[in-house]
């Protein structure tokens, strides 16, 4: 049909140059002007059409969802089985479950007034570990705020997760941000910031710099389907394609942006369908299938670096928990809906079924691990509670690399103020 031909014509591109190198511009093979009856517009390289026909946005039969395992953890197509070794699969499972345990304890701690705020990752653990396992350790990660499992997979210790949430003196972020705004330079995880989608064009710039440095590193940029509506997302996709950056855009489509369901977030076929519009290689995957997430990320990473082009992965999943401790999602969705995903299609259960099937796990190991992982989390939690908060000096530093005179004066003013009115402030909790 004319619509399909038009779409095929859109995909006609020159192949990209392999390996790092200067950005190449699209060059026309024919001389200008050409004697053929073809459009000569610089803006598009398609044929003429002489029948009026609008392209139908293909929402009904959209981009298919790539999966490796079914909901019972059986491999559907053996050719797609990544055949990950037992050690790696156990690490995937233990990371997801440890995250789940930490989430439960920290969510409760907010409810008890111990920390100010928290965001759980329930249901999306598969998107974190599946992708993290497919990257190189030094690949740079830009996240949004619901990717804690990526950092956990890379070995970020429980102590430091807790320290950040408590804002205590051990927090490498120096107590400046709300809980779950983690960052780790050594593990190449850029510090989280609250504004949505701002990380997207930044990740593209970082990928460009990394490309020029010829570093054999990729950048991965995570965001939700809600953040994908932001202008920064559009900017990032377009820049990545035109500037030929080695980046993976990883969209966690979890069905809700706080209370806004996807039906009110977009009318097209999700986020994956936007990719081709920008010239991005795109795929949609079952985000609750760790192996599918792994395979897609692995291949995207390999090609992004080898071919210097961006990839878009839309991982379909479900946000089982509330948006945050400030949300009560029973106000906008049914308990039945949430239970379906919790009980019938959960990344942790699906991987466990797979492991049980392989004889790599059993009830006893499960019990033992639940006990020991909970103990680890509780220990980290208790010692985080006991630690003091950072020194007040840290309120004023790092605004600039050097401390300017006016901040020195303001810091001195606070010190003076506290000398007279210190009793009205929680000074005893803070390091001197």
């Amino acid at each position: 049909m004319a619509a399909m031909a038009a779409l095929r014509a859109l995909r006609l591109r020159l192949p990209r140059s392999p390996g790092p190198g200067p950005a190449r511009r699209l060059s026309t093979a024919q001389e200008f002007p050409s004697p053929e009856e073809k459009p000569q517009f610089p803006g598009a390289s398609a044929d003429f059409a002489d029948r009026l026909e609008f392209i139908q946005p293909n929402v009904i039969s959209g981009i298919p969802v790539y999966r490796v395992m079914d909901r019972q953890g059986h491999i559907v197509n053996p050719a797609e089985d990544p055949q990950l070794p037992k050690e790696l699969v156990l690490k995937l499972y233990k990371t997801m479950t440890l995250l789940n345990t930490m989430d439960r304890i920290l969510y409760e701690s907010q409810r008890q007034g111990r920390i100010s705020f928290y965001m759980t990752n329930y249901g999306e653990e598969g998107t974190h570990v599946g992708s993290a396992a497919a990257l190189d350790d030094t690949d740079l990660v830009f996240g949004q705020y619901r990717e804690t499992g990526v950092l956990m997979y890379r070995g970020y210790p429980l102590d430091l997760f807790m320290a950040q949430c408590y804002g205590n003196a051990s927090d490498t972020g120096k107590g400046r941000q709300m809980p779950v705004h983690y960052g780790c330079r050594d593990r190449h995880f850029v510090t989280i910031s609250s504004p949505l989608a701002t990380q997207i064009p930044q990740a593209v710039g970082a990928a460009y710099a990394i490309k020029r440095a010829d570093a054999n590193r990729a950048v991965i940029c995570y965001f939700g389907e809600g953040a994908a509506s932001e202008g920064d997302a559009h900017a990032g996709f377009n820049f990545a394609a035109t500037l030929e950056c080695p980046i993976i855009f990883f969209c966690r489509n979890n069905g809700y942006a706080i209370s806004t369901p996807t039906s009110e977030q977009y009318r097209g076929d999700g986020i994956a369908a936007r990719g081709p519009g920008y010239g991005l290689m795109s795929i949609r995957v079952d985000g609750n299938d760790v192996f599918a997430v792994y395979n897609a990320t692995k291949e995207a990473r390999r090609r992004a670096v080898a071919e210097n082009q961006p990839f878009l992965i839309e991982a379909m999943t479900y946000r089982i928990g509330h948006h945050s401790t400030s949300d009560d999602s029973s106000a906008y969705r049914s308990v039945d809906e949430v239970n379906y995903w919790d009980k019938q299609d959960h990344p942790i259960s699906r991987l466990r079924h797979y492991m049980l099937g392989r004889g790599w796990w059993d009830e006893q190991e499960e019990k033992g691990w639940r006990k020991s992982s909970r103990k680890m989390v509780m220990e980290a939690f208790e010692q985080a509670e006991r630690k003091p908060k950072p020194s007040l000096q840290l309120l004023f530093s790092d605004v600039y690399q050097e401390m300017p005179p006016h901040l020195r004066r303001q810091r001195a003013a606070l010190e003076q103020h506290l000398q007279h009115y210190g009793e009205h402030y929680p000074l005893e909790h803070f390091e001197k």
Binding site: C184, P195, G205, Y400, Q401
Partner: protein, 269 residues
């Protein structure tokens, strides 16, 4: 080469966001916005991201090697969207530096300092000076320090403070005042708007007892208000007269009315 100096898609939020990312990855980024009037789509990236990168990460990450450049100020016919001086919007944002040169010689030294500075900088370039200003500029690199105002001419009766194009206006005003009124003016080019050199300005006002600040940007909330407020706090007992601000009117920058809008030498005089 084309991989170092290149076009991007037309998207200021993308340009600045991309520049931040380049800097975070450790490379030097110089992001150009075509006119300062178009910097606003990038406001979120500048204020919420670039300015706060180091602080919020506990110094684990920063985008200090980012410099944003944009043509700034009136040009004779620019009207609403090719004449703006938006420094006041950004002066309210801890974590960035704002620098405005008055001449080619100053521009080179200040720009190089911005590029080398380990904090994200916005460098506003008075566009009217692109073609109007001619100066002997050394070929080799040199730096002019940031956050240091320059006293162009010492005086005893009144301190005049401005930046960018307006420095040339107040220099003329100083000459007029000397010739026609016998008034001795101390002329200061602020150069860096944030963090600004309070010491030089206050020291001058302590000496003269009078201050006039002038900028093209609208009066209300303009950067002159910050200078005025700080000076009256620090130099209250030395002031002989209220601090005067001669600025653009509180209207969008008009086209045909530009000659009446701008704070010219007659208004300062």
């Amino acid at each position: 080469g084309k991989d170092r100096v290149f076009n991007t898609p037309l998207c200021e939020q993308g340009i600045v966001g991309f520049g931040i990312g380049v800097a975070v990855a450790g490379a030097t980024a110089i992001a150009e916005i075509q006119f300062a009037d178009y910097i606003f789509p990038a406001f979120d990236q500048i204020v919420n991201e670039a300015a706060k990168y180091r602080y919020r990460s506990g110094d684990l990450f920063n985008c200090g090697s980012l410099t944003i450049r944009a043509p700034w100020g009136c040009v004779g016919h620019g009207a609403l969207y090719h004449s703006q001086s938006p420094e006041a919007f950004f002066a309210h944002c801890p974590g960035i530096k704002i620098v405005i040169p008055r001449s080619p010689l100053q521009a080179k030294g200040l720009l190089l300092s911005c590029i080398e500075d380990k904090n994200p900088c916005i460098f506003f370039e008075p566009k009217i000076l692109y073609r109007a200003a001619v100066e002997q500029v050394p070929v080799e690199p040199y730096n002019i320090p940031l956050s240091q105002a320059e006293v162009l001419q010492t005086g005893s009766d009144v301190t005049l403070v401005a930046w960018g194009t307006q420095v040339h206006v107040i220099k003329e005003v100083a000459a007029m005042a000397q010739e026609k009124l016998g008034v001795s003016c101390e002329v200061i080019d602020l150069r860096t708007i944030l963090p600004w050199d309070t010491e030089t300005v206050c020291k001058s006002v302590v000496k003269t007892g009078r201050l006039l600040i002038s900028h093209e940007a609208p009066l209300t909330g303009g950067f002159a208000s910050e200078i005025s407020s700080t000076v009256q706090e620090e130099c209250f007992l030395n002031l002989e007269a209220p601090i005067s601000r001669v600025c653009g009117y509180d209207t969008p920058f008009p086209h045909i009315f530009e000659p009446f809008y701008i704070p010219d030498k007659w208004k300062c005089y």
